[in-house]
Amino acid sequence: MRAAALWLIALVILGVIASGCIGGEEAKTSQAEVQLTGDFTKDVVEIGKILEQNGVKEVKFSAWGSGDPNSVMRVYGIVEAARRINKIWADNGINVKIVVTETHYVASFQDAYKEYLSKQPLGQAGDFFVNSYAFLPTLADEGYILDMTDYAKAYQSVIDDFYPSLIEASKYNGKLYGLPQDTEARPLYIRNDVAQKIGFDLNGLDEKVKNGEFTWSDVYYWAKKAKDEGAVEWGLIHRKGSAHPDLIQFIFAFGGKLYDPNTGKLVVDVPAVYKWLYVEWKFARDGLLPEDIMSWDWAKQIHPTIVEGRTLFDIGGTWYWTEWQTKQYYAKGGTPRGLKPEEVKAWFYYTLFPAGERGDKPVTLSQPFVWMINSKAGQLNPKYDELKDVYHKLAFLMLIKASDPDINAIHSVISAHLPVRKEAAKLIKDEKWLNDLKALNLDLSDEVKSNIKDIVEATVNPINAQFLADVSYMLEYTHLAPAHPKYPALADIFKDAVDKVLRGEMTPEEAVNYIIQKVNADPELKDSVEVQGEIPKDWKFPQG
């Protein structure tokens, strides 16, 4: 019995040794590094050859994205990039294929971030992750995303085609951790029909706003007039939720700041914050802005109030323009429906977010979405440890391809976000290209076409393209919320303070003190935030 057991063990050991010898040559990795040259086809072919030599026939990647229903190109851009690279390989006789195994797309970008954060350390997060740049510092700081600074050097010509401010937003501590995917502006929408009723002349208003001649005191004046004359239920409707990023436009509009580049700390700019909260408080006290707007329902209250013309002003985003066309928010006359492009054009005037007071400048705010690469990208593929560099560079090249002007332009037109590349901005002004997009007569995979068909049908038209062209200038006035790991915590405190002044639970002065108290209550936040300035004495709103 014992002899039999010994024989069995010896046999197993022999088997293991033999299996190690058989095929040992094949398991050897031939080349594990590649040098990017900036010639896209050459680099892709080089990577394809290395993968082929190492016996890799299929490379699996997954793409995680989030956002409104019209922004699905955030994941299908990756799918399309994979197809275009596969085509290059096929044309060059390379028998390797990229397969995008998962296109994970959810509505809430915050929830997507939470999911990524918890799954990345487990190696279960997507290889590509598109989300707000606001999360980039934390992800970079934790080592959860790939530093692509060196890769990008070879593709400087592509990088240079992105708008510089957006490239800056994709950096953390001077290193590039992402490529911009889209951006937007946040216009002040004004109802043409309501303005007409109350004698509010909108001709040339955008110029007055640009010059800082039309300020928030004027917004107040017309909002009050519209309400007093019974033309509307509310003077102003704005977004809700975390103060990031919409309402903090007030801080910039009152000449304030949120970040001190010299110290690297966040800033509570007391005078600007006080003025912001005072405006909110005043609007709410005079019944021009709902006291409980921060807990309004998006689909049942906020959007219907705007599209049905029950408010004169609305602080929104450029993406509202197509959202109003594709979502059934308008219920006047019975069945809820989306607006027609002609209706949106006829009913809404749009301009920059006005200056806080004379002497200040108008603003807008962008929250670019960026494509990021998981620092473990490609880990489920064969020989990951040996070919890590190759997989990472391939992932980078996929992002370069996903940033092709046409892919970016398609996303912009169908989701009413602004293009991030100059070449894409040119395309959306090209009538022929728009017609081809409308007919889906473009070089796109069937999978992508079938997934965007309905959105294209509902959104691609000259009116929407013109809107995008019209609002593009706003990027010159844009501000970004600070890319700081502690910013979300500060933004949450701002949100609470706004809610409290709107409801009348606190005066603007009390709310400013509340913010300072909350900042000081958390030692870590206190270390990251500077409180600057004093509450201005004898400041009046509205001003004459």
Binding site: K114, S118, D292, S295, Q301, A489, D492, D496, A521, D522
Partner: protein, 312 residues
């Protein structure tokens, strides 16, 4: 103890001992350990070995002293657990007694009705109350009261602080929790010999007298069990609260208990601070242990655990 008996005991108890060790003891030790590290954003590789001693506890104490929100969280925990506990225990008792005195068929249907909230998925159940208590005219309660002419303006129920927010979270959780006591008490009441009730009836006792003098004293231990169980359960419950706060139905400060604070700190949207959350969780566990101990002591749990008299 005899060797044989020890072996038998080990054999029968070992699966449970192993379970307790794996699923209770190890997590508890890990929570205490994590509370003494800088663990954040799930970066186990980086932070798990970064030992900071009592730093997170000091942070919590500092916040307790200076942060009005944190004070509201503590107050909300006390009020929420206290009042919901009373509703769950005495509401469950009232339901069990009420159904005890009626025919079995309608009683069963009635009990089933009270079980519905527990059977509904949390999101669906919470959504029902979201629309019911919504602070605008789209809220069912507001629209009913407005159509009856009782109020002219919608009331933001969950945003009236503190009692509006507390009332909503207590109501919603109380409605779910009351069925647990009801089931336990019903089962206990059904074990009481009917002869005792019939005899009392013959002697002219009312339902109230029967309940007070006979039924309640006989289910005293069940009361103790439900009280302790519900106390610990309420102390750590958060899913309904999470949704109601997340959807802005109730005020964040006065709709957040310590358990939800732990969850939000560990899994929230901004920086996820597992070290701080673990410290708060340890404090929550200590409160739970102390509270449970006090409850058992006050209600003389040890009396129930006495060996029964008679042959053994």
């Amino acid at each position: 103890m005899r060797k044989g008996k020890l072996r038998d005991l080990s054999f029968f108890l070992s699966p449970m001992v192993l379970m307790v060790f794996l699923f209770y003891l190890i997590p508890l030790v890990m929570t205490v350990y994590i509370s003494m590290t800088r663990m954040r954003n799930w970066n186990v590789d980086r932070y798990l070995t970064e030992f900071v001693g009592l730093y997170n506890y000091e942070r919590l104490f500092y916040m307790f002293q200076h942060d009005p929100t944190f004070k509201a969280v503590i107050l909300t925990t006390v009020v929420f657990v206290g009042i919901t506990l009373i509703i769950n225990v005495f509401g469950g008792l009232a339901l069990a007694l009420a159904t005890f005195f009626i025919d079995e068929k309608p009683a069963s249907s009635y009990r089933l009705l009270w079980l519905l909230p527990r059977m509904s998925p949390i999101a669906v159940y919470s959504l029902v109350w979201y629309y019911f208590f919504h602070g605008s005219e789209i809220g069912t309660l507001n629209s009913i009261l407005m159509s009856l002419g009782i109020i002219s303006e919608p009331i933001p129920w969950g945003q009236v602080t503190p009692w509006g927010a507390w009332s909503v979270i207590i109501f919603v959780n109380g409605l779910v929790g009351v069925s647990f006591g009801m089931i336990v008490f019903t089962s206990a009441l059904n074990q009481i010999p009917r002869e005792l009730v019939i005899a009392a009836r013959v002697d002219g006792a009312s339902s109230w007298q029967i309940s007070r003098r006979i039924l309640i004293p006989m289910i005293k231990w069940h009361l103790l069990y439900v009280l302790t169980w519900q106390f610990l359960s309420l102390l750590t419950t958060y899913p309904h609260l999470f949704l109601l706060v997340q959807w802005d139905l109730v005020n964040r400060d006065y709709g957040t208990t310590l358990a939800l604070y732990v969850f939000n700190t560990a899994f929230g949207r901004g920086e996820q601070d597992q070290g701080l959350a673990a410290a708060a969780a340890v404090i929550l566990s200590i409160i739970g242990i102390l509270g449970g101990f006090v409850t058992l002591k006050v209600l003389k749990f040890e009396k129930m655990m006495k060996k029964p008299r008679g042959d053994f």
